[in-house]
Every structure is written in structure tokens, then in C-alpha cells.
């Protein structure tokens, strides 16, 4: 018997697993989402993010483990839970032949909202996502960014206690993406708990209080974005490039690694690129110069979530 979740936890998963005959899509993951926070799932394609989302918004039953959303078991209280969720699915699921306004009003009916209240709420939300003047246009005439904003507005109809966004900005241009981000930040300020999946590092860094990195059905790292960067890759990264152009490339690389010893916490080699993770990049560059390690390019930059991501999940292509 699983103990009920503490009062502040909106989602609590323990050893959550989804298995298909041949594959395990989610392999015993444990996480908790606290009230009011924005919680991100980061990971390459096929890592199990969407499967986790679908189990959380109760359309996919878990194979084993426990999953409580809003203190209710997803296996027994799917309808009650879903009445309090806002969901932005990975694919847009709008009625393209209907107008923007009709999409909202019709969707509100699934939550048993009276027509009059549904219409009023639709106006408020259209304004929130800046679509008021497109209200009478058919959805098929909207841009990708507008459709995504409409998906967000639609998800907010039931005044959800938890908003789940599966890749909210994939495929959008930078302007549209920033607009969606701005709306999500506004929502966060009003206290709406959010869970989102993304494979954009900037998105996770810009929106999330805490993230987990998923890879091959498991959680491989967890924490606030800045802390993940600090603990997994340090503060700065020195990138050395151009070994292959040198006659004694392998020796130079070995020398570079030797020179970095003590200053770099870790290193990674990707073909022609040597990454040195360090707390003091200036000192490291100086040391390399003193030791006579010269390559075509040596750059110093701040470590980012992307370094963590690639370090944890590797640079192999995922499809």
C-alpha cells in the first residue's frame, strides 16, 4: 500500500514503469513535483518523456509502480484528476474547421462548463494569449505559433491545478517561442504548477525551477538547472579544436589533457573537439599556453545545460 502524498506534492511517482511487449518506455522512475513550481523533463527523442506525460495526464495506465496526481491514484481516479488538469499535447488537437472562439467554447463543455460561463472564460483567455482579434478566424488559417497559444489557452479553460505541456514550443520560430515562454512565466507568477517536456536547453533553463534529464527510459540527473550545470560540468568550458590538422594531433591532445590535470574536473573528446570542464577557464588557458599546447582554436565559455545534457546522454544521434 502506497502512502498518500504530502500536501505540497502535486505529482508523486515512485518506481513508475511503462512496459510494452518488446520495450520498456519508462523504467522505474521516481520524482515529485511541488505545488507552484515549474518542473521540466529534458531528454533526447525516445527517452520516455511523452510516455511519462501521458501517464500523468491519465490516458495511459502505468505497467507498475505508483503515480499520484493531485493526491489521487491515476489508476482509479482518472476522470476526477483530468477534470483539474490543463494539457497541451505534443501534437495540436484543435478542431481546424471551427473558429478560435468555437474551439474554446466547445472544449469547455467537456468540463461541463455552462455555455454562458464558457463564452466569458473564452474571452478572458483569448485576451491572455493575445488572440482576441483572431477569435472569429478558423483555426486552419492560424500560424503555428498562434495554434500553440490557442492550445495553451484551451488548456487553461478549467482553471487547472496543474498544467502539463508536452514540447510546448517545438517547431515554433524564435518570436513565437518567446511569446509562449512569456505566457508560461506569467502563469507561473500566478501560482499555476507546470510540468513541461522539451529538448531545448534554453527553454528548460528559462522556465524551469527544477528539471530531470531522462535518457533511455530512466532519470539520469535531477536538480535546479544552475545546480546541475555546477555539479556535472563545473562553471566554465574550454573548447579546443583542430587536432586533426596537426601532424602530431594525438600527442598534442595527450599533452593538452596532461596540462589540464588539476584544473579541469573532467574532459570529453568528440572527434576533433576536446572539451575541458573547469572552474577557472582563464587559468587553464594560461596553463595550456605555457605548456606549448597550440591548436587552431581554443575558446572559453560558460558551461550550460546543454553541456550537462550531452555529457549525461552522449552525443549519439537519437531517433
Amino acid at each position: 500500500m502506497m502512502a498518500s502524498v504530502s500536501g505540497t506534492s502535486v505529482v508523486a511517482a515512485a518506481s513508475l514503469t511503462k512496459r510494452y511487449s518488446a520495450v520498456t518506455a519508462v523504467d522505474g522512475i521516481t520524482f515529485q513535483v511541488q505545488r507552484g513550481e515549474c518542473f521540466g523533463f529534458l531528454g533526447p527523442n525516445g527517452a520516455g518523456k511523452t510516455t511519462t506525460m501521458k501517464m500523468t495526464y491519465c490516458v495511459l495506465p502505468p505497467t507498475s509502480g505508483s503515480l499520484h496526481v493531485l493526491d489521487m491514484d491515476v489508476r482509479t481516479h482518472a476522470r476526477t484528476i483530468k477534470a483539474r488538469l490543463g494539457v497541451v499535447t505534443q501534437d495540436n488537437t484543435l478542431d481546424s474547421a471551427l473558429t478560435v472562439r468555437e474551439n474554446l467554447v466547445l472544449f469547455a463543455r467537456y468540463f461541463d462548463m455552462p455555455w454562458r460561463i464558457a463564452r466569458r472564460r473564452a474571452e478572458t483567455l483569448l485576451e491572455f494569449v493575445s488572440l482576441t482579434d483572431r477569435g472569429n478566424d478558423r483555426v486552419e488559417h492560424l500560424s503555428g505559433g498562434m495554434r500553440r497559444r490557442l492550445m495553451v489557452a484551451r488548456a487553461l479553460l478549467p482553471e487547472p491545478d496543474l498544467l502539463i505541456l508536452d514540447e510546448p514550443t517545438t517547431g515554433l520560430d524564435p518570436q513565437a517561442r518567446h511569446m509562449v515562454w512569456e505566457k508560461l512565466r506569467q502563469l507561473k507568477r500566478t501560482g499555476v504548477t507546470q510540468i513541461l517536456t522539451t529538448h531545448y536547453m534554453e527553454e528548460a533553463a528559462a522556465l524551469c525551477d527544477r528539471i530531470v534529464i531522462m535518457d533511455q527510459a530512466r532519470i539520469v540527473a535531477e536538480g535546479p538547472p544552475a545546480e546541475l550545470v555546477r555539479t556535472h560540468v563545473g562553471r566554465e568550458v574550454v573548447e579546443l579544436r583542430g587536432f586533426e590538422a596537426l601532424q602530431d594531433g594525438p600527442q598534442v591532445m595527450k599533452a593538452a589533457k596532461a596540462a589540464a590535470a588539476g584544473l579541469a574536473e573532467a574532459h570529453e573528446v568528440h572527434g576533433d573537439l576536446l572539451l575541458l570542464y573547469t572552474r577557472d577557464g582563464e587559468a587553464l588557458l594560461r596553463r595550456l599556453r605555457e605548456q606549448g599546447v597550440t591548436v587552431e582554436s581554443a575558446t572559453l565559455r560558460h558551461a550550460t545545460l546543454e553541456d550537462v545534457f550531452l555529457k549525461m546522454t552522449g552525443r549519439m544521434l537519437r531517433d
Partner: protein, 260 residues
């Protein structure tokens, strides 16, 4: 208990999805009704004036009367069948409407049942329009014809359930051609709409008896002409039993398709 609660549909949820379809249908209502008036008129002119000129009577009835009283049933069948094949598939696969709806308090079962109810509604709507045209042509001979819309509710549910079952397992929209070519069209031809089945060899009659449409045609003709017998009660029982037995099938198959 847990599994049981997932498998049940809620009448309210099904009604909400029915309302959704009705809401969308409203937009094309005038055009769609106009087309549905036109189609039977063309059929009746061709059959009654064209074919009817060569055939004097069938079973004591003018050919136009014979054909028209049977054809109302096929109009109703097509109403339900198009809704639960092409329309449902586009909603499910291309528009991904079902995926959006099941994130709300509605579940897959509600969606499937709502879609079937809407198919039956269109069956009543289209069949009744055809009936009105037929009545204008002076073919209806009994006030019992007022019961025909109720018949179309039952037959609409039956054809919707059958079509949704196919839709739930259909791998691609192209395969609906097979559904129509191998099931709907032969049934259209061999269910007693264009010629009486009594004159056919016994094995053909048995085969025809197995088709859902033959029972609807038999009943609609009986009601329109006020000529009912015990055999019509069996037609109704046949339809109710088949509908009831098959009903869980599309619900189950659609859950398997959408919830992976």
C-alpha cells in the same frame, strides 16, 4: 474495480462528444440537407421514370413504390456509415481530435459511444429527409411510416457500431474502399431494395437474411405500406441482437488503438 471503471463509458461524456459533433455539423447543415434532398430525387426519377417504364409492378406494387420504400433505408445506412468511417477516421487520425478530447474528463469509451450515437443521429436525419421526399412523391401509404425515423435510430446504431469496428482496426483511410466495395455495395444490391428476395434461390435468400440491411428494408417497406406481419418482429429482434452483441467491440478495439 480499477480496470472496470476505466472500461465504462459515462452517458454524460458520450453526450458531450455527441454535442461536439452536432456543433460542428451545424456549420454545414444547410448545404448537407440540400444535397440530401437532391440525392433521393435523382434516384427516384431514374428508378421510377427510367426503370419503372419497363417494369410495371413488383409484387402488386408500382416499381417506384417498391424501390422508394426500400431505398429510404439505404439513405439512413449511408448517413451512419459515412459518419463512422471517413468522418470518424479523419477526426481520429488526421485531426487528432480524440487525443485532445481524452485529456478532459471524457475517456475513449465516451468518445466511441458519442461517435456511434452521432452516426445514428445522422442516420435518422438523412433517412427522414429521404422519407419526406418519398412522401412528396406519393409513395407512403400508411401512417405507420411515422415510425420509420425510430427504425432508423435502431438501424443507425447498428451500422454505426459495425462501421466503428472497422474504423478502429483500419490501418489507413484507403482501406475504406474495401469496406464499401465488399460490404456496403453488395448489401445495397442484395437486400431487397431493387428486387424482391423471395424469387431468388434459397441460398441467396439465406445469404441476404444475414445482411443487416435486408431487415431494415423489410421493416421500412412494411411500415411505409402498412403491411406488417410476424416476420417484421423478427427483423427488429435481429437488428437489436446484432447491435447489442457487437456494441462492446468498437469500444474495446478503439481503446486498444488509442491507449498504447
Amino acid at each position: 474495480m480499477a480496470a472496470g471503471s476505466r472500461m465504462l463509458f459515462s452517458p454524460r461524456g458520450a453526450l458531450r462528444f455527441w454535442q461536439r459533433n452536432a456543433f460542428i455539423f451545424r456549420r454545414i447543415f444547410p448545404e448537407s440537407i440540400a444535397v440530401n434532398f437532391l440525392e433521393p430525387v435523382i434516384y427516384l426519377l431514374a428508378m421510377g421514370l427510367g426503370l419503372g417504364a419497363y417494369l410495371s409492378t413488383i409484387g402488386g406494387l408500382p416499381y417506384l413504390v417498391f424501390v422508394a420504400t426500400g431505398m429510404v433505408s439505404t439513405a439512413a445506412m449511408f448517413g451512419a456509415t459515412f459518419e463512422c468511417t471517413y468522418n470518424a477516421y479523419v477526426q481520429m487520425y488526421y485531426e487528432k481530435a480524440y487525443d485532445g478530447v481524452i485529456t478532459t474528463p471524457l475517456n475513449v469509451e465516451d468518445v466511441v459511444v458519442g461517435e456511434i450515437l452521432w452516426g445514428a443521429t445522422r442516420s435518422v436525419l438523412y433517412g427522414t429527409i429521404f422519407l419526406v421526399v418519398v412522401w412528396i412523391f406519393g409513395v407512403v401509404r400508411s401512417p405507420l411510416a411515422l415510425l420509420i425515423p425510430a427504425l432508423f435510430l435502431v438501424s443507425g446504431l447498428m451500422f454505426s457500431v459495425i462501421a466503428m469496428t472497422f474504423t478502429a482496426v483500419n490501418p489507413s483511410i484507403d482501406y475504406f474502399t474495401f469496406y464499401f466495395a465488399l460490404f456496403i455495395t453488395p448489401m445495397f444490391m442484395f437486400s431487397g431494395v431493387f428486387f424482391p428476395l423471395d424469387a431468388l434461390p434459397p441460398w441467396v435468400r439465406t445469404a441476404a437474411w444475414l445482411t443487416p440491411l435486408s431487415h431494415v428494408v423489410s421493416l421500412s417497406r412494411g411500415l411505409a405500406l402498412g403491411d406488417l406481419s410476424a416476420r417484421h418482429a423478427w427483423d427488429l429482434v435481429w437488428m437489436l441482437v446484432v447491435t447489442g452483441v457487437l456494441f462492446p467491440l468498437p469500444v474495446m478495439l478503439m481503446r486498444r488503438r488509442l491507449v498504447k
